[in-house]
């Protein structure tokens, strides 16, 4: 069984909310990504979302834009991201890894080839920001053949027909974008989120994660009450870069301490 499904099954039994940190692969340095993934797992990450940097991240706010630019400047590529995941799997066989990124690097590698390489590396799910369900039929099928989960976004503006369309293709979990905006944007309205997540849960047969706008233990705790998973990205990416700038090499330790604190709030 896909690691994402077994993870969510166990969480459900224990009545816990999944904590999903996002980091950009290759930022703040190529070498830091592997130790940071282990640190996140240790701090209680249930799934790790690994951002594949792209030159034109149109759905991301300034924090992840800059992060992607830094990663690309360091020479990060989709091929290298897969190599990092393969390395991670040598000592961690349980924490699911989801790649999150944009279509073009995948198309440049050839989609079939990418799917096989990702499965071989030990990837569990793939979220392509600019593959909405209407453009993803064949790609979702390719992923399914190798037991990889196609992860889709849902938005405050998604109609019930669209939620149903996503529900037909989605495996693993769906990712509800909690606000109108880009990653790292301002405040989220917990009441509105609760209502929409409730609507999605009625239609979609997989767990619902919420992200975009969760920045600390407190927002994670509030959203965790209504969602199956909370995704937290920009705040972590920014903090890691700050730690790296103060003292290169400290970013993994920072990530571990920071996420542990979020974990405690979420479980409180």
């Amino acid at each position: 069984m896909n690691r994402i499904n077994s993870t969510f099954t166990a969480l459900k039994t224990n009545k816990r909310t999944a904590l999903i940190p996002f980091i950009t692969a290759g930022d703040p340095s190529i070498e830091s990504t592997l130790p940071t993934m282990h640190a996140l797992a240790k701090a209680g990450a249930d799934v790790i979302e690994l951002g594949v940097p792209f030159s034109d991240p149109m759905a991301d706010g300034p924090v992840i834009q800059r992060s992607s630019e830094r990663a690309l400047a360091k020479g990060m590529s989709l091929k290298k991201v897969l190599a990092v995941v393969a390395e991670f799997r040598k000592t961690n066989a349980t924490t699911p890894v989801v790649l999150m990124g944009y279509a073009n690097p995948i198309e440049a590698m050839q989609r079939e080839h990418f799917v096989n390489a990702a499965a071989d590396a030990g990837v569990d799910g793939v979220l392509v920001v600019d593959y909405p369900p209407e453009e993803a039929d064949d790609f979702a099928a390719m992923l399914g053949k190798r037991d990889l989960a196609p992860i889709f976004l849902l938005a405050p503006t998604s109609t019930s027909e669209r939620i149903a369309a996503v529900g037909r293709l989605a495996r693993g979990y769906v990712y509800y974008v909690s606000l109108r905006g880009v990653t790292g944007a301002g405040h989220l309205d917990t009441v509105e989120v609760a209502a929409k997540v409730g609507e999605i849960k009625k239609i979609v047969p997989v767990p619902v994660g919420v992200g975009f706008g969760i920045r600390d233990g407190e927002t994670a705790r509030r959203v965790g009450k209504v969602a199956d998973a909370v995704v937290i990205g920009s705040a972590l990416v920014q903090g890691m870069f700050g730690a790296y700038e103060k003292s290169a090499g400290d970013e993994a330790k920072f990530a571990e301490q920071w996420l542990s604190a979020v974990r405690r709030s979420l479980d409180a």
Partner: protein, 426 residues
Amino acid sequence: MNLYDLPDARGHFGQYGGTFVAETLIQALDDLKAHYAKYQHDAEFRREFEYELKHFVGRPSPIYHAKRWSEQLGGAQIYLKREDLNHTGAHKVNNCIGQALLAKRLGKPRVIAETGAGQHGVATATVAARYGLECVVYMGSEDVKRQAQNVYRMKLLGATVVPVESGSKTLKDALNEALRDWVTNVDNTFYIIGTVAGPHPYPMMVRDFQSIIGEECIAQMPEMAGRQPDAVLACVGGGSNAMGIFYPYINHENVRLIGVEAAGEGLDSGKHSASLTKGVPGVLHGNRTYLLQDENGQIIETHSVSAGLDYPGVGPEHAYLKDIGRAEYVGITDDEALKAFHECCRIEGIIPALESSHAIAYATKLAATMSKDKVLLVNLSGRGDKDMHTVSMKSGLSFYCHPECELGRHAAASPNKEQIVQLLKR
């Protein structure tokens, strides 16, 4: 006749086009699609669009026989479709009016746009002023520096110009930023895309609004030249002026369609913007098309002397027309375009935009290989006033600049008399 009827309902031109955007934008695009489908054939909408094109833009634009130049070349007769005579100085305004009229009908009080050279930004700011809409234009910070005059024009027209600092700080990044704005302000904002790119329905809708160019040509050519042309030529940045003139000719099978891309410092120099000639298919800005990218699928920086052609992608319909062989795509270098620019000024008394100079340059090359009874129709997409600074620099001349402004560029807070005297001597 093989009737051409693309895109399909999902915005695909063969394998190109489509809706490759984040879920957060889908609702806005569906809304736009529905409204465009409703108003596209609405008599009142058409009437207002045509009225504005006639009285605000000055359409129809004439076709002009470049007789002296054709004679000097000794080959085919060159005709120019004078989009340079439009209000605001380029074809861009045709599309802006169409989209602004839609924005009004959708009840959106705020419009946003991306711009490279600033022509689309100026056209959007112009129609926003005309219809009383709030206007925000995104422009790469590199382009803000290169196109200071157009930035000022937009400000005069009441628009806010936002410099974009991400990525390569040029047109593609401005487009990313405009999409981000749209996602955030989708409830009150209409995004006026400036070319036949972006997610469905933009490539189709912008083409439709621009196809007034080709429709007029079909009506005008018999009178001007006694018949339809042997070939239609246009420069291709994103591809809107080219689609505008090509589209009505697609079913005229005997008319060659030739798109001219910017070959920059040469097609093999790595410094060009020839997406169709040198790119490979991929996904960017909401559609699948030919892209200039590296082996890892990252979009690479492009180059052209004309900012309006400096874009790593191209409208998906051009990708399709190339693959099926209905249109041909060729490259013209910076130097060839500049040469044609100067010749057009001296021989015909027309100062063309550097973008359009690419199309003219290829037409002169082609004309020389054809007999005198052949007819070439070139889309003169814009006038060159905006390019004075670039052309004068390329010619090694310093374009006149008021002493204080020169000093401003050298970051002197308050120039003293001596500095001004020194500058005036130069």
